[in-house]
Amino acid sequence: MTLSLVLSLLALALVRGTPILLASLGGVLSERAGIVNIALEGEMTAGAFAAALISFFTRDPWIGAIGGVAVGAAVGFALGFAATRWRVDQIVAGMGINLICTGGAAFGLIFVFNQAGVTPQVPAINQELWPLVILGIILAAALQWALSRTPIGLRLRACGENPHAARAAGIDPLAVRLYASAIAGALAGLGGVFLALGELNLYSDGMIAGRGFIALAAVIFGRWTPLGAAGVALIFGLLEALQFALQGNIAWLPSDFLQALPYIAALIALLGASGRYRPPAAEGKPYP
């Protein structure tokens, strides 16, 4: 393999990995604050759809991107609100949000564009993808630092480990969880924006294709740390890129096997990772 081939493979890996990375950072943030985030898939869907929609009408992809992030944040806020103020079961609420977002986007396609399945082509930011890729990596490092080294990070982690102690220390766990969930939604929404306006220039039903759940896997594999999750997300990106590179080059390997490669690799990694995964202690538990 020549150097340029390796470089283009790595570049593709970064592009494929970034949406997963962004969503997984959101997952880390909300889970460390104590909110299980099954809703990443729905938040990515909402972000991608809103971004394409707004970009179509404003003809400005950056406004679309901001809109997608805002809508993702709103969805995250809804999850956080239900989980904190209504004390609903977070997994149930997350599943509900996924259904609402995927169904809502499909409904919106017909309602707005009067066509099923896909939006028309919209103005995109394909040429300026790299700033977003770099932003994702910087965000991972910044979140790592913020979570482990700043008072705000400490407070957020306290809410995920022991909200009663946090309360005693003068922190409002409900507010912290609510905002963490909203920011998580914004990050997952940005992941959706990256897919809709970065890699493509449209929204189509099913385009998220389980990336929100893969991001959830990255959160757990990365042991609930931003850098860990980001690393795992990029490995997923690399496996996806490898799948593209190998497709058609190796005759004896069925292409369906290549399709399944990232997931088989994850399973094998699970076998090897004998260490226990310890989630934040109070994760998923309503407070008070």
């Binding site: 079961d89 149930v92 609420a93 017909i110």
Partner: protein, 338 residues
């Protein structure tokens, strides 16, 4: 029923009606006409009721399976893959055997259960042996199941008469008998209801069910009492997968009459909502499955009659899940992620 849950259900129903009305108004359809079409589509005649029952059946099997895993504290989101592998094995066996129909149908269901159980047990084994998180493993196994099924039906198991990614048609004698003639409502529904009754008995009255619930509700206490959490994880996932796999067999023998990789339009995922709305109680899950089944078939009719897109129904289902989630007791029943 507690007053609170009655209130939550009332609020949920009202919310669903309001949301559906909004969706109809947004699509320029009068809600009166819309609801008319919806209820006609779900319950209006023999064919409509049969469609509702068929959707109910397709959701009930995986939802019961999911409830087993959730009650054991295992977040199994792999019902979709387990259903697919169960259906694959059932559809393959159905074209390979030559026995009396009753025996064949039993064999097809057992094959479905075995396929699903095997796929679920992989995640259970990973959990038991390596402490691997079941959220990741069941999720990955969904993707792998889809690829494996596609590979097998387009490669080694390729059928000469296949028009798509599918196996050969089952012999006509092996098609499930229908409950209502000329419809898709088959005896798979009573089988699913029996499974629900059996599951209720097993969970509430047997030693296995006791250990399973103990592992889900208080794992540390269960472990100290000598219950092997690893074994519970393995068997709970296997049984969970077995029920989902029977759902695959029911779809193969009752609806498509052959295995196709597009067997399930996400039943395994919607079933998670069904199980949760049913509060992880087998009998309540039957009611929830009927409600979701009616939404699915009524939604299709709404799309045909009033041009309200069927996807609006998924929004409604999501709202229903959300509203009923307010019944707080769910958390106490062993649903804990990770």
């Amino acid at each position: 029923m507690k007053r609170e849950s009655v209130k939550a259900m009332l609020v949920g129903t009202l919310g669903v009606v309001a949301a559906m009305s909004l969706a109809m108004l947004a699509s320029h359809v009068s809600p009166i006409l819309g609801f008319n079409a919806f209820f006609y589509g779900a319950f209006g005649g023999k064919q409509q009721i049969a469609e509702t029952l068929a959707s109910t059946t397709a959701l009930l099997f995986p939802a019961l399976g999911i409830a087993i895993a959730f009650r054991a504290g295992l977040f199994n989101i792999g019902a979709e893959g387990q259903l697919l592998i169960g259906g694959l094995l059932a559809g393959w066996l159905g074209t390979r055997i030559d026995v009396p129909p009753a025996l064949a149908i039993a064999a097809i269901f057992i094959a479905g259960a075995l396929g699903g159980a095997m796929w679920g047990a992989i995640a259970g084994w990973l959990k038991a042996a390596r402490g691997a998180n079941e959220v990741i493993s069941t999720l990955m196994l969904n993707f792998i199941a889809a690829s494996l099924a596609l590979y097998l039906v387009t490669g080694p198991l390729r059928a000469p008469d296949a028009a798509g990614p599918e196996l050969s048609l089952l012999p006509h004698a092996y098609w499930l008998p229908t409950l209502l003639s000329q419809t898709r409502a088959t005896i798979a529904l009573p089988i699913a209801l029996l499974a629900a009754l059996a599951l209720r008995y097993v969970l509430d009255r047997t030693w296995f069910g006791y250990r399973l619930r103990a592992a889900g509700e208080a794992p540390e206490a269960a472990r100290r009492a000598g219950i092997s959490l690893s074994r519970v994880a393995l068997w709970a996932m296997a049984w969970s997968g077995a029920l989902a796999g029977m759902g695959g067999a029911a779809l193969v023998a009752g609806e498509l009459h052959r295995f196709n990789t597009q067997l399930s339009p996400g039943y395994g995922f919607i079933a998670i909502a069904v199980a949760l709305v049913g509060g992880l109680e087998p009998l309540a899950i039957c009611v929830a499955a009927l409600a979701f089944g009616a939404l699915e078939s009524g939604g299709l009719a709404l799309q045909a009659a009033a041009a309200v897109p069927k996807d609006a129904i998924h929004v409604i289902e999501g709202l229903l899940v959300f509203a009923l989630a307010a019944r707080r007791y769910l958390g106490a029943k062993g649903v804990t992620a990770q």
